[in-house]
Subunit: 616 residues, 2 copies
Amino acid sequence: MNDAERWRELGQQLRVDSIRAAAVTKSGHPTSSMSAADLMAVLLDKYLRYDFDAPDDPHNDRLVFSKGHASPLLYSLYRAAGAIDEQELLTFRTFGSRLQGHPTPEIPWVDVATGSLGQGLPYGVGIALAGKKLDRLPYRIWVLCGDSEVAEGSMWEAFEHAAFYGLDNLTAIIDVNRLGQRGETMHGWDLDSYANRAEAFGWHTIKIDGHDVEAIDRAYAEAIATEGRPTVVIAKTIKGKGVREVENKPGWHGKALDHPDEAIEELGGVRNIFVDVAKPDRSAEPRRFETSGPLELPSWDEGDEAATRRAYGDALAALGSARGDVVALDGEVNNSTYAEIFAEAHPERYFEMYIAEQQLVAAAVGLQVRDWVPFASSFAAFFSRAYDFIRMAAISRANIRLCGSHAGVSIGEDGPSQMALEDLAMMRAVHGSTVLYPCDANQTARLVEQMADREGIVFLRTTRAATPVIYAAGEDFPIGGSRVVREGDDLAIVAAGITLHEALKAAESLAEDGIEARVIDLYSVKPVDAETLRAAADATGGRILTVEDHWPEGGIGDAVLEALSDGEAPAHMTRLAVRDMPGSGKPAELLAAAGIDAEHIAEAARSLVEAAVGAR
Amino acid sequence: MNDAERWRELGQQLRVDSIRAAAVTKSGHPTSSMSAADLMAVLLDKYLRYDFDAPDDPHNDRLVFSKGHASPLLYSLYRAAGAIDEQELLTFRTFGSRLQGHPTPEIPWVDVATGSLGQGLPYGVGIALAGKKLDRLPYRIWVLCGDSEVAEGSMWEAFEHAAFYGLDNLTAIIDVNRLGQRGETMHGWDLDSYANRAEAFGWHTIKIDGHDVEAIDRAYAEAIATEGRPTVVIAKTIKGKGVREVENKPGWHGKALDHPDEAIEELGGVRNIFVDVAKPDRSAEPRRFETSGPLELPSWDEGDEAATRRAYGDALAALGSARGDVVALDGEVNNSTYAEIFAEAHPERYFEMYIAEQQLVAAAVGLQVRDWVPFASSFAAFFSRAYDFIRMAAISRANIRLCGSHAGVSIGEDGPSQMALEDLAMMRAVHGSTVLYPCDANQTARLVEQMADREGIVFLRTTRAATPVIYAAGEDFPIGGSRVVREGDDLAIVAAGITLHEALKAAESLAEDGIEARVIDLYSVKPVDAETLRAAADATGGRILTVEDHWPEGGIGDAVLEALSDGEAPAHMTRLAVRDMPGSGKPAELLAAAGIDAEHIAEAARSLVEAAVGAR
């Protein structure tokens, strides 16, 4: 059997196995797998360099199924490579199986979860950046894309950035099977429409018949030989290829075949071709960056003023000096987030992602695939642009650190479009996330230090304005903790970030009236320090006042209520938050208008204490 | 003075006024305004058709500043048009002024809020769809774009859809001033890079010197004359044009000039050119669609089973028959969301937006600008892709209705990438939003009916699986209400959607043990029925059990706690939610694994009742 014959047979095996897998629970996407079977057969047999026994080996190529619903094909590849056996293949989509409906890194050979379309290629860009700019290893990134998903803007962020960074180690393969979930795509089989767009974006493009294995072979060889820019192989394919019942027919997306046995027979029956996948080139070691000794965090003097966003930049640059694995990215606002300090100190480990927040987060996910420690920053409001990527990053079990600046109405004149007022809610609702919100520069620095080794999605919310430094340098602020900044038993005021300072001012004023307020700095919004909050509720007769520069839903108020709801809940709780749509103005004017400045806090505190007295 | 001289003078006036406006609070983006001043001068004086006294007139052209930070230029246009006076111009960015840092519809001539970059063009596509496909009026949509924002994938979703729908009533103007916030853009002054991309996406492209008013004039005339496809005018401009201190210099984004008086002098001083903007063509009336009589909602028999997503499609189609203003959009999953029922019934009022959720939501926002009543649907998980657009839609005071299907782990085999588990948190944290989560088909239909006239961002969460019909057709389910489905005073179980049925099963089983559970159907998650919840807390000694197919943060549990936190809070509350990352499996297996099925609810209820007894 020559190569071409072998590839054709392997393609048929992948089709048969995809059909068999989907038949188990009568669900899945066999027809979307069948269109790309020949494309993947040639890749697995001749081009992929991968050690299935050592998925963490830095030298491995990376294969990303951006069209994650073609998971039956991916798992059939694993069987062909001997990574899983037939028995496991037939656990597809059953409860407890790692072979889920869409790939996740519960499988050791999957680096990023896909299934939300338009994400695999942006992740591929991140891994390719790691390979080309950081590791400097010859591994390649292969991304199988669907044609439907090319409609996602995030794909074009990826096209743009891959070309800009000259990522010739990246190959996208578009499986143009013409049919989406509910009908034909915008462009059907018009390969030129894809090629023209990709070329205009600076890619090398190759159009082929995706069932001609020799053409596929030539295309991959050409992709590897292309220097200075990424290549996209645009392959005309047939959905459900090889089985008359479903071939090129609408209405068969996301459905198992009605007659799998007949289909398998039509395809020539079950095969057991084993592919001894080529091992990667291990001749070089990944590049490591030199460090300049142990971490020396920046520090600020108590009583001075400094913006926490500035402290983020200073601390991150210091962290980068002490650790060669720390890298930073920003979305064209690094002079606002202060990621520019890192960029200037460590230019080789900084990636400018321009105004493309989806690619910003996706690049961070891709970089951590190769064990780099990415910190990505933007205005906190603009991370809402990448929420689907953040959600999926959690499913990817990714370790990424996001810093969102310009929180809340306190930013002032720019107005509501630039004010993050839902970021705490959004980030708290990410599985396994950590949400931090420092109020002073020294605290920020200590939190940035801890972020580097924290697992999962870690979010740091910083403030635009300079705020007083209230903690000594070097004080400890463990994630999951809180700080009682002022003692008192008449009520407890729970705040963080900008409102912590307002709360302290309010407490001063309350003390003049003989009301002693306990002030709690809830710098760790998730996980939250339930013990300290419960102690405060107990000590104050359940009089808790929360105050936050955020909408009322999903932020500090909810975090406090959740912490207290497991035990004796507060009898009297007041929640101050931003309730009306803000406009422009000076920060102080806007804090006052939102009812979250010192004066309003003091007023609410007095009401709370009086109501409690009245209720007795 | 000939036209060209007049335009040049007007351009200088717009620059001077932009500088004057930014000088007031020493903030804003005058240099980004100055680059586009000539482009807007010609537009205002010769091409725009707009009645400033009648901004709601359907015949008006629409001008969208996608680069919302150029607000000083927009407001300077208003002054030139006589819509605002000098005194008001000089309130720019001050507290209480409608002339905010970025434009919002607090200003009657602004249709959509901008300031999060990459959004204005997608909104423009929505308005252009209304003009071309619904209103069938000759108004034009002019969108001023920045060059930096072209990096946003959402811009390419807009380019793609505008070409696909042949929107020749849409003109994008890209102000290529080369400089972003922190430095040069990816493409600098390489106009071809923009032109090649836009052409590949099917647009007519015109490259000009953006300070040559005669070239601008010709470009706009050519845009208007171009049929069958949209036009983009790609204009090479100079940031800060006309003032040596800032001209073409980095470091001047988002900054007022240091020496405004000298700059104004350099530009030739203050001018008072008045532009009598041409009125729109009012010869035709907007098209209206025929209706087939009063609303006849679909109905289901009690005891039958039906999926709420199916009820959404049926109800929406019925609503479309009764109301000609209702339109629907979907992101290539209309056979899953059942928007396809509407699409088949009312094809002229259905827009397929393919897999581009940002453009999906943006189109809905654009359609409602022209008073159409859009319902946009996708998998609920994928609305996370468009969260920034939803956030901004609230700032736009837009009235849009979103239906997210496939909520929670109960979808089964597809796995976590397709499961909405953060959508309630995300949508609750949108300003002024409404969040609905029906459990049966008849309830869904009544909620869909109410959505049509509900203001703000309205979200309906539907379920993949068929669920029992428990309510009679025609029963009333007011937004903001809830339903006590079963009476009992030992504890209250609060649920919605799929978990309501599990709660009812649990209550049956508890009753066998002599525990009488009150079951509350919290179909309106926001606004929430605090009164019914408080009554339940009072009646049960504060024993509340919430159960939701959602992460613990930001959903039903938080909504209930928030409702109860104002008064006497529950002494004993248990929150059941999805706490571990789910995989694939049968719906029942996944509900059980997440601890939110009937068995786990009953178990938690017993513990809660016992703990309460123990605590007495």
